[in-house]
Amino acid sequence: MSVIRRGAVAIGAALALLVAAAPTLSQAQSNTQAELEKYRQMLGDGNPAELLVMRGEGLWKTKRGPKQASLEGCDLGKGPGVVPGTYAELPRYFADTDSVMDAEARIVHCIVTLQGIPRADAVRNPYSGAGQRQTDMEALVAFVVEESRGVTINVPQKHPKEIAAAQRGEKIFYFRGGPYDFSCASCHGEDDKRIRLQDLPNLNKDEPARRAFATWPAYRVSQGAMRTMQWRIYDCFRQQRFPELDYISPASIDLITFLGVRAQGGKMDSPAIKR
């Protein structure tokens, strides 16, 4: 409860700050950035995603599904039952599925294999809608990523399939298509660019790529919800005017692998908080 109250108070104060700042926006773009930065700092101690992390931890340890098993035996890459540090080294190759999987794909895999929940059920509606309660998937991801906070990003490039995934991911990053001819690089290929007032990280560069990878999943204040890396990619493609990206699809995992490799050496700081 105290976390809720603390979060609510911080959000209220931060919103008041933004509203108060509104008349000065016309003076300089940088004011907006400064205010957002203050806002982030104010919320830094009270990220509402903390609640989701706790819910996720509870879910992780709850016996569910036809097999009445918890996810505590899940192998996220460091052996069954080990959660800490795993997110920082995903996506990676898993021998049991002979494929490269990101955190979300691996969690789904564990839900299916350990708990016996059909895959179709596990991946149905992975993202919460506007004003809806966050999904179980989002809660589980929140818990798993929190367990890697401060851990150095080290997405492996040892197995040939890991290398191939990153190579395809790079090509997907530059793939121009759809009625707008956009690729990821259209918005994320140069320094100091903005859409309207929103800063865009140049994901061609190590430092912005590290920061981007380290801070997803993130609590999106404008949506009142924590969003995962899969959602981030999904929503970019929507704005690119592409068809709808399937949850934990091969292209999404390739792209996340490419971004993760580029983010090598950054430190996970997620769930983060964003506008």
Binding site: Q29, P160, K171, I172, R176, D181, F237, R241, F242, S249
Partner: protein, 203 residues
């Protein structure tokens, strides 16, 4: 070849082998893409079928495109421009401002009835009054004042909006006319926003 350089070359091949083995083709990528998206509403899977321009621009995203290829793409884009049949280039700048502000259209969350916007402010400064503008494209403030409102400038600006690749192949701007994002009438209004001496852009 000395023994030493032979060893060095062999070592290099050994190092490169796994990467070379995993080297992926554009066809592989398209297969992966097609298996990873599903159509939704107006956004069909054929949006992943790249035209020649998209293909070449993707291919040369990270390295310089050969000059003749670039020139050919630019010529094809210019040939593709459809100028207004009645020779009327300018509409109403007030409507143009609304089109420049609107970012809706062509997403899978839109439908056939959605009237597409131009979303110009996402990337360009245009009027002085709108301070929430992006900077992916150059500023267009005082566009007409700086260039004049001659027929040549009108034709050039029309072509630039219709298919900007005519002047700089593989630039980022969508082909608003050629790709059917804006109608001829909508482009006239955006033209007026940029060129009409009465538009706030030029005052």
């Amino acid at each position: 070849m000395t023994f030493k350089s032979f060893v060095a070359a062999a070592a290099l091949v050994a190092v490169m082998a796994p990467a070379a083995q995993a080297q992926t083709s554009q066809a592989d990528v398209l297969t992966i893409m097609k298996s990873s998206f599903k159509e939704r509403g107006i956004a069909k899977l054929d949006r992943l079928d790249q035209n020649e321009l998209q293909k070449q621009c993707s291919e040369y995203s990270t390295r310089p495109m050969p000059a003749p290829m670039k020139a050919a793409l630019e010529k094809a884009a210019l040939d593709d421009v459809k100028y207004p049949a009645d020779g009327r280039f300018l509409g109403d700048w007030k409507v143009g401002e609304r089109i420049a502000q609107s970012g809706v259209g062509l997403q899978f969350s839109d439908n056939e009835k959605t009237v597409n916007g131009g979303n110009c402010y996402a990337c360009h400064q245009i009027s002085k009054a709108e301070i929430s503008y992006g900077n992916i494209g150059p500023t267009l403030y005082q566009y007409g004042k700086l260039r004049g409102n001659t027929v040549e400038i009108q034709r050039y600006t029309w072509a630039r909006i219709w298919n900007a690749h005519a002047f700089n192949a593989c630039n980022i701007m969508p082909r608003f006319g050629a790709a059917g994002i804006l109608s001829e009438e909508q482009i006239r209004h955006v033209m007026a926003l940029l060129l009409d001496p009465a538009s706030p852009v030029n005052r």
